[in-house]
Amino acid sequence: MDASKITPFLDAVVKVMPELGFRSVTRGRMSASVTNKIASLGVMVIVGLAHQFRGNIVYNMSEDSAKAIASKMMMGMPVPVFDSMAESAISELGNMLAANAATIFEGQGAKMNISPPTLIAGDSFASTAGNQQRIIVELFIDGLPLEVNISVNF
């Protein structure tokens, strides 16, 4: 998988987060994984991709990150526990990020459709069938870590 092709997924984060009230998105490590397994940091949102590109994108974050992001999305409402409201906000975040990436791809002439987000909370590992390579990009949203896992057949 050509790493330069994943840029729209990251540009989407840079575009969407300020709209939700965050000030900065900075980039940490980027790596390519040969092992086909993602260890959950606590909360994962998976969005399926189909049409010209097929694959999955997984947004992986700690429960603390998820609560802080959900709180910001709900106009600063405190989120002491990761409840159904917060779950709904975080899965909507996954939807917004993937939908924005799809729009950016479309602007470049590549059609990508997205499935509704699914939220996976707790101790788990995510993987995909086949030896699909995965690119992992660590981002910090006002200092909160958010890991973006991209496995797409470009």
């Binding site: 694959g55 499935s115 509704p116 996976i120 707790g122």
Partner: protein, 286 residues
Amino acid sequence: MKEPGERIRVLIVDDSPFSRHLIADFLDPCWFEVVGFADGFRSALDSYRTYLPDVVTMDIDMPEMDGVEVARRIVDEEPDARIVILGSSKAGEPVKPAELQGVAKFLQKPFEPVELMNTLRSVCEGDVADEVFNNCYPADFIASFVNFTKRFAADIFVQPVSNGKSLHSSGVSVIVGVTGQFSGKMILDLSAPTAKNLATRLLKQEPKDAEQTNVVIADFANIVAEHAVSKLNKQFRGAFLRVSPPGIFTGENFSITSPNMDVDVWGIETPFGKIRFSVGFKREGV
């Protein structure tokens, strides 16, 4: 869906030059753009591939091959093609709606420009009513699961269970996304021992490790989803459903939530153990 201001691109297939221009003149250029003309199967298929129109109008009465057959062949080659057959009362046998199902829409001549434009628009914008689709997809998905599983397991027992938005995983969950006019997902959830039993049956030998087990289960889920989606695409032309590759989740203690959508859930007793099967859709853009 069309953005406001974006025109619907039309390919006109008719052997008569006069009719081609008449149809083109019927289409208001504010809303429609005629991208090409063709006069038979070969030129229609070539033009379709060149211009990728949103919709094709097809005269039913053509000398080389009738419009229904041309439409059927184009759809065979290009399953995304949307076709409206323009039928004439003097074309002999009336077209039975059953012959067109899953292939094309039919508009009887003579028609007013507004009728033609409305038909083309409805085909392009997908006129599949939410309720109709929502009433059909659960049955198609569970049928796909049952039909496939029955090929290698006689005794399976399916029971709908109350549909909560969140489910605690039994250990292995496979999620297959569906995109298109309707987007949704299918989730297969089972314990690690059940996954191993099922994978052993499908492979006809014991999987070499948990990873191989999971890949086999993901393939199984993918086949079930592909079959269901293929049936729905035939039932609902214009829905353009596609499946995304399966995502596999494993662990001792995790839950799966699908906020903002209704999910149908079944508990299925199989010789390999219990499987929980769920499917849910939301309308695109909602």
